[in-house]
Symmetry: C2
Subunit: 266 residues, 2 copies
């Protein structure tokens, strides 16, 4: 059992809390029962499990740990509660975490195998919102989530947690605007952009199947290069003094309209 | 200018970051240009403005500060950047914050003046989600948001920030289940509950006008006492491995369906 906070292996794992080290290593840290259990179920490329026996109190937690013990190629490290807490975010650590290989998909490898819904977000900043969007992408069976330009890292611990396991199931792609537009054009994939200034309501629009839903950042909206490439622009009507919705709420509303439209139900 | 972190006035204001002191004092702290500007616009009962000149860099920030200087009954305190940062959450403080009186509405004072949409959330735990829900309530013009049982504090700094000013515009009510059910019954207000087990899709349901949308907590769902009082239960259909949506996304989807139904558009 590792009891020292400065144990080199722990120092290395703790570095995965930093975006820079996640990028360099291609690894990330998933913490908590839900995330580690989902990693097991989804055949994620799991390298290391770290656990603190005193904190791993649920029966499910022990089952997950036992399942990893059956595997040959997973390193299992027992640590003290104090060492575990140094890896965990503050609130209620559940005594289990895993180091997992990031799984990026190339644009050209996206397919409509799951559905005709593709999603792209431009320059999204908040990892909690990104995680929540992944979760909704999973719920509507989206075929891919494309992170454009300087979007935040889906493997940030906050994003991983908010995704509630969807980080393992939604195909994730990184791209810049030029490659993205080229890919959409080559595949004749109509881009449906969103803007609070668009005349067309997202609730009465007939979403082509397949299509690509493109969301801008809350603060900036979509850049003109992306707007001008959109086949259509839609908006969410609003009352009151609110001048916008939270980006994950707006994305949720529009993805469900797309989902319903594709099912012929709206 | 206050430059000492231990200045008694600052210590007192800093206490508003704790739920206990917010409850005792009936005050809260709103931080950042958006929140303070919206407090000004919405005639909130503002007691004190705290600002750090070196951090207040935008023209809009100076306009807001000048507007408060015109008022007789607002205390204005200049502090050093260091003192200001001790009040602020970590990321990019904007040099202005305000101490404001909480504005709770009594159940019996809620009316349909804005719309026939009322919202109640049971035991919601995450203040960011609660703030995001307030923002959506504002966007659909909801007539009130009722926080049932041990729901988190809408005046938590995280909730205030996520509400993007809607904390000042959405009528907020605290209640327990018994009083709430009594009020709904007295006012013949049909309760539409939400559950992932409900047969009725939220997208095909015809929402009565007025009605009350009742959301359970993400982890626990709604307690049976509340479910049995619901006129109808609706669910959001889901694909994939996701077993639920984020509570603020789910609320956003259902509130917009209610809004459309009331406008005769779905």
């Amino acid at each position: 059992m590792i009891t020292s906070l400065s144990n080199p292996r722990m120092v290395e794992i703790r570095k995965l809390l930093d975006a820079k080290h996640r990028k360099q290593s291609g690894l990330f840290l998933a913490e908590g029962l839900k995330a580690v259990g989902q990693a097991l179920d989804s055949q994620a490329d799991l390298k290391t499990v770290v656990y603190a026996d005193s904190e791993l109190i649920s029966g499910y937690g022990r089952e997950v740990l036992d399942a990893f013990r059956q595997k040959n190629n997973v390193e299992i490290i027992e640590v003290s509660a104090e060492v575990f807490n140094s890896l965990a975010r503050k609130d209620k650590p559940q005594g289990i975490a895993a180091v997992i290989r990031q799984q990026w998909v190339e644009l050209q490898n996206l397919s409509t195998a799951r559905s005709g819904i593709f999603v792209a977000v431009d320059s999204i900043q908040n990892p909690g919102n990104l995680g929540t969007i992944m979760r909704t992408c999973d719920a509507v069976g989206a075929s891919g989530l494309i992170l454009l330009n300087n979007s935040t890292d889906p493997y940030d611990p906050v994003s991983v947690k908010a995704s509630m396991g969807s980080v393992f199931t939604v195909p994730l792609v990184k791209s810049d605007s030029a490659k993205f537009l080229d890919w959409a054009k080559t595949n004749s994939l109509p881009i449906i952009g969103t803007s609070d200034k668009a005349q067309q309501s997202c609730f009465t629009f007939d979403y082509p199947d397949p299509c690509l839903i493109l969301m801008g950042s809350e603060r900036e909206g979509l850049p003109t290069t992306l707007i001008s490439a959109a086949a259509d622009m839609v908006s969410i009507p609003m009352e009151g003094t609110a001048d916008s919705l939270n980006i994950s709420v707006a994305t949720g509303i529009i993805l469900y309209q797309t989902y319903l439209s594709h099912k012929g139900k709206n």
